[in-house]
Symmetry: none
Subunit: 237 residues, 2 copies
């Protein structure tokens, strides 16, 4: 029986197993495509119950490290397989719902961020905003959706920082960090609908940029909200 008592004893056994297997995968002891030992064998060799192993398997599934087939076994996943199909997975009602909620929050949040950024952005932040905006213009097309999404995120995050508003910034960070996938999904949907990056989005980015530069806070809020609302509408059927 293999010992896995190394970590603190107050950790769930399933998590210890999951960590152990994940370590083996990352260390290359288990190669992508390779079949894992059956749950019963793992349970036996580790000296734990099968349920503990099963919960560990669920953890690794959710981490995207393994795939299991009823009657077939569990297999180490190639992390690059399906890497480019990420946006369309999770097309269930829940993720659609979450995407809606994120965009609804962004509408007011980025409105405020733009408002305060117009009022309080420092010269340095104005320069960085200009630089980032130029980069977005130059690259324009010919980029992957993912890169566009990241550029979009950087632009909006810069605005949030420029707002000098602790709470707006904090919420923006959480939203961007935790729900990037949801936002990315929105962008993908919008892209698939209109064929390519809607030119209107470029115009809206320009309006936001100009309003902030002109220190026209009210206008900045208005166009920022319009921008998010437009993106959200693109997503809806």
């Amino acid at each position: 029986m293999i010992d896995l008592e190394l970590p603190a004893g107050d950790e769930r056994i399933a998590d210890r197993i999951a960590r152990r297997l994940q370590g083996q995968i990352l260390a290359g002891e288990i190669v992508p495509g390779e079949k894992l030992p059956s749950q019963r064998k793992l349970a036996g060799s580790l000296g734990v119950s099968r349920e503990a192993v099963r919960e560990a398997v669920v953890v690794l599934q959710n981490h995207g490290l393994i795939e299991t087939y009823h009657g077939g076994g569990s297999f180490c996943k190639n992390l690059f397989d399906g890497f480019f199909e990420l946006p369309m997975r999770d097309q269930d009602q829940n993720s659609h719902n979450l995407q809606c909620q994120v965009m609804e929050m962004r509408e007011v949040l980025e409105g405020e961020a733009a408002y305060f950024a117009a009022l309080r952005a420092t010269d340095n932040q104005r320069q960085r905003l200009t630089a980032e905006y130029q980069r977005m213009l130059e690259r324009g097309s010919g980029e992957t959706t993912l890169k566009k999404a990241k550029a979009d995120l950087t632009f909006h995050m810069l605005i949030a920082e420029s707002s000098h508003h602790f709470i707006v910034m904090s919420i923006s960070q959480v939203l961007y960090n935790k729900y990037f996938n949801a936002m990315y999904g929105v962008l993908s949907k919008a892209l698939k609908k209109s064929g390519n990056y809607p030119p209107k989005i470029g115009v809206q980015h320009d309006q936001i940029y100009q309003a902030i530069m002109d220190q026209d806070a009210g206008e900045a809020r208005k166009v920022a909200q319009q921008h998010i609302r437009y993106t959200r509408d693109q997503m809806l059927d």
Copy 2:
């Protein structure tokens, strides 16, 4: 026994349960911080084994939606917890700057909360809102400022819950829990200026209440924002 056969039958039961619970969380049926039914009760009410429920719980844990404690139960997690951590002493809560920012955030946040509450509040929530509103009316004066602040908080939190908007609810909770002192400070200042509880606040509460009851979402947002803006103005010198 509750039916969860809706999705394709080839999906694991645990995933169906996880999706169901996630839906309830996003829809605001389970509020951040709220305790979930015990695994045994869930298993019983859904007509499945406890192991299936346990695996669903593991899924939601990995999604960061719930937290479970040995012997304590599982709780819906507030995803925004811990992100507003900033070295902040208690007296900082009285800083003019922070109070301003809290009220600025509240203005948009409670606007949205009222908007969605008008659209989606359940009958039960309408009743509770009515009851709470009645209590505020009856007690009117003769209370300490602290109690008024708490009643105010309860009223607004009830609206946030009625929004059935996971993100709006989460942010409201964090704001109310973390910055209650700051909000209390605002109210104190307003009180000291005008001598007593401004009657206009009562009128505004009534407007918000009525708009939600009338399911007039746009009006609800407008008057809620006016209410916060008015309170904030009272605070300013």
